[in-house]
């Protein structure tokens, strides 16, 4: 049948889409949902690097579509045009879906800068199942020794971690003066660079690739901006992702960098919502609108969108950039504003140890940013203080203490924070 009618359409079915669907079913288990995805099914995207490196046996997630749920999954398909006035989605396969409410959860696509030689065999992006399969096939067939990673951001470093486990010779090139430019400061980056160099990774900062060359068959050489040549068998372009919004250009939905949503995850078109890496949301700390493309945000936004698609009006408190990573045995957590401009209202507290670094950024006596590196335990507690805008005046001098914990907070917080059966004071 070429025409499908549904109360709920979900476009893209990764973590935001799945959580949107689960939330709708939580409210109404009988709700029929149609999802369109160009993938074969739901899996955990971030697991592709762990799988490649051998740390995970699978990229499947425990979470699934509940058994028996009224669900139609249109795999290997895409929405090519969204008619928001008549609530119709036109698919590449020729199918037409008529819907009451829709969730846009198409995620991001890798940014590929215009570098010469990208078409050589051995050049990859690395964000999805297809990339993983192509990479594995390439590794098996050509047994490469030297890999180049362009981009020292989150994806670049996770890919680096996988290659480290595979025992490859790695050169990591980052344009900025530090690794994880959005998550770390210069000092924290030095710890990470040291940890990487110790394991044999070549870290090259303030550099980029000018061109890639092959021998007609496959990649053989990279040329850096400085003119230096580097023999390589494989290159991963990991300079970032951007929201997957090209298909919405004629939809009438307001798109800036991502699909702009209001506090209810609803787009400029009533009844059409967006969540996850495709959505542009209000930043919890700055109030600016931006895309915060991380798993925890995709979950939270997916839940809020799902709720509001069923007719609720649950506001979203705002997005918080945060992430965790483990590289060469060095664990790190980062959240919020980690590189504040100098001076008021910001105050910066720093603790330096041989193998650990901690930075707490305060503004008006509240935590607005955190870096923990080497020692990451309790990071969740600091991030909670940040989210809930708890004044830290009473316990500020204890914030950097490795033994800092719930016990350092004023009694009223200790009592009210312990959920379910409470903590008595």
């Amino acid at each position: 049948m070429n025409e499908i009618r549904t109360p709920y359409l979900i476009v893209g079915f990764s973590v935001a889409g799945l959580w949107g669907a689960r939330t709708i079913w939580q409210k109404d288990p009988e709700a029929s949902i149609v999802a369109v995805s160009d993938e074969d099914g739901f899996y955990s995207r971030p697991l592709i690097t762990y799988f490649l490196g051998g740390k995970s046996q699978s990229i499947e997630h425990r979470l699934k579509v509940p058994e028996g749920a009224p669900f139609t999954f249109l795999s290997g398909d895409r929405v090519e045009h969204l008619d928001t006035q008549n609530r119709m989605a036109f698919l590449r396969s020729g199918k037409k879906v008529l819907f009451d409410r829709a969730l846009i959860a198409t995620g991001g696509v890798p940014v590929v800068p215009p570098i010469q030689g990208l078409t050589n065999e051995g050049v990859f992006t690395f964000t999805g199942r297809r990339d993983l399969m192509a990479m594995q096939e390439f590794l098996r067939r050509t047994n490469p020794k030297r890999v180049l990673i362009l981009g020292g951001g989150f994806i670049g470093l996770k890919t680096c971690e996988a290659f480290m486990h595979l025992g490859l010779e790695i050169t990591l090139v980052e344009l900025a003066s530090r690794l994880l430019p959005l998550m770390l400061d210069e000092e924290a980056s030095r710890y990470l660079e040291d940890a990487l160099r110790k394991t044999g990774v070549q870290v090259v900062l303030k550099e980029t690739i000018q061109g890639l060359e092959g021998n007609g068959e496959k990649l053989t050489r990279a040329t850096l901006q400085s003119g230096a040549h580097l023999p390589v068998d494989c290159a991963v372009v990991a300079v970032g992702v951007r929201p997957n919004v090209a298909w919405l250009s004629d939809s009438g939905i307001t798109v800036r960098r991502g699909v702009v949503v209001d506090a209810f995850q609803e787009t400029s078109q009533t009844g059409i919502f967006a969540a996850g890496d495709v959505a542009e949301t209000r930043n919890l700390l700055t109030g600016e609108w931006n895309v915060v493309a991380i798993w925890p945000e995709a979950v939270r936004q997916g839940k809020v969108a799902g709720m509001n698609m069923t007719g609720e009006r649950i506001p979203y408190p705002g997005s918080l950039p945060l992430n965790a990573l483990d590289l060469g045995g060095l664990a790190l957590v980062s959240a919020g504003i980690v590189n504040p401009p100098e001076g008021a209202p910001f105050e910066v507290l720093v603790r330096r140890e041989k193998h650990a670094y901690m930075k707490v950024v305060l503004a008006e006596e509240r935590i607005v940013g955190l870096i923990m590196l080497g020692r990451i335990e309790k990071s969740g507690l600091y991030i909670r203080l940040l989210r809930e805008r708890i004044p830290v005046t009473e316990f500020k001098e204890r914030l950097l203490d490795p033994r800092f914990g719930l016990v350092n907070l004023p009694r009223e917080y200790r009592k009210s924070w312990v959920e379910g059966v409470g903590m008595e004071v």
Binding site: W19, S44, P46, L47, Y50, K55, S56, H61, R62, L63, W295, P296, V299, R300, L322, N323, A324, L325, D326, G329, A331, V333, A335, I376, E377, K378, S379, G380, L381, Y382, I383, R384, G405, L406, V407, N408, R414, W417, V418, E419, G420, V421, G422, M423, E424, V425
Partner: protein
């Protein structure tokens, strides 16, 4: 579901809860044998102390547990029958999302830093009382 309730005004900071937790999760289940073993498990409950204030804190098994939602693999999950939040170590890849997400700061890495460690697993069957509660000499932990 019954939960462990914390009463800080009764806690004397004796750490017996930690000790009985370690014994409970050790292969022998015997106190002396357990503590002679240098590979003994870490306690899944920790006494927090500051001056005269102390209390024993373990996973609160939150209703909307952020560690479960943010887990990249589903290693962190809720046992539908008991309501307890558990960690399936075979699935854990050590991404530390749960540590970043735990609003009480109780999620920790294991000693080798490979997986999540020392996670309260609500260790008893229905009708029983967890050893950390049972052995508390001053009822600073109760099970209700």
């Amino acid at each position: 579901m019954k939960k462990i309730r914390i009463h800080e005004e009764y806690c004397i900071g004796c750490h017996l809860c930690e000790i009985t937790c370690v014994v409970k999760h050790s292969p022998s289940g015997k106190l002396i044998k357990t503590f002679r073993d240098t590979n003994r498990p870490a306690p899944r409950v920790r006494v927090e102390e500051e001056g005269y204030v102390s209390f024993a804190l373990q996973c609160r098994h939150c209703d909307d547990a952020p560690c479960v939602e943010n887990c990249l693999t589903g290693a962190m999950y809720r046992d539908e029958e008991t309501g307890v939040v558990l960690c399936d170590e075979d699935r854990c890849v050590g991404c530390w999302m749960c540590i970043m997400s735990c609003p009480f700061g109780v999620a920790e890495r294991n000693a080798e830093h490979t997986h999540i460690g020392s996670k309260c697993d609500g260790c008893v069957k229905k009708g029983e009382v967890p050893p950390c509660v049972e052995n508390c000499p001053n009822e600073a932990l109760t099970y209700e």
